[in-house]
Amino acid sequence: MNPSSDDDDLWEAMADPTRRKLLDLLVAHGHATATTLTAEMPVSRQAISKHLLLLQRVGLVDGQRQGREVRYEVREQRLAEATGALSEVANRWDRRLRTIKQLAEQAHAADRSKSADSGGGHSPRTTL
């Protein structure tokens, strides 16, 4: 499988809130079947089965047939990869916001010392 279509699939799989909820439940329970998951979701069993198949296709869950049901569990390594795609954007903004905070606070402090200095004839350094 080439890496870019692999990424596309993972990206798409994680974009759906129902599938994210299913992964959440699978992580919480360790494993589950479409039937047990239906009890906890406002979606039909048929829809859940479809979502699970898609998750299996992109490697986010493993399914093992047990009698008439398939027992699913999360593949943790793959999930870590996928949640990384979601959260990295947030982490980047966290870092940027921290820098913005630093810059704005420095500029503000400089502005204040500038106005405090203005009577004293001191020539202040500008930062902005």
């Binding site: 974009a15 999930l79 903004w93 940027r96 916001l97 810059l103 704005a104």
Partner: protein, 155 residues
């Protein structure tokens, strides 16, 4: 629709006007965001951001200002190929909201939405994901904590 929406907030000990300048003026954008920035805080203004400017493969992306209500709201579309028109299909929407919080303090919120609507060619998508992957490795464990509290493996 807004499945991939990021929302982040920070408290800053500076007045809104100072924060506004920090997030909108190109020479200041260069200190917290891109290596180079050509942008004007005016609705409809089209510009560019350059990342990795000092490498063999600089990454230039388009930016189009959607709203600029000084000093309370600044939003733009970005990460689309420069030269193209920014649309919902080729860009994400970033909105900064600045709220004065007492004397000389600002609550700054940023929302980035529309990540799921990115309809990029394979090359662009690959590039976009590569940029993210660098962070995935570093942040992997923490991310899993976020997504599945109580299920994290200890280092």
């Amino acid at each position: 629709m807004d499945n991939y929406t990021i929302e982040r907030e920070i408290e800053i000990e500076a007045p809104v006007e100072v924060v506004w300048r920090t997030i909108t003026e190109p020479q200041l954008i260069r200190t917290w965001f891109s290596d180079a920035a050509e942008i004007e805080a005016r609705p409809g203004a089209v510009g560019s951001l350059t990342f990795r400017a000092d490498t063999d493969a600089p990454n230039v992306v388009g930016i189009t200002v959607v709203a600029a209500d000084r000093p309370h709201r600044f939003s733009y579309r970005w990460v689309y190929p420069p030269g193209e028109r920014a649309t919902e299909a080729n860009s994400t929407l970033v909105t900064f909201t600045l709220v004065a919080d007492g004397e000389g303090r600002t609550r700054l919120r940023v929302v980035e939405s529309g990540l799921e609507q990115m309809d990029m060619g394979d090359d662009e998508k690959q590039k976009f994901l590569e940029q993210h992957r660098h962070g995935w490795q570093v942040q992997g464990d923490r991310l899993r904590d976020l997504f599945a509290p109580g299920h994290a493996s200890s280092p």
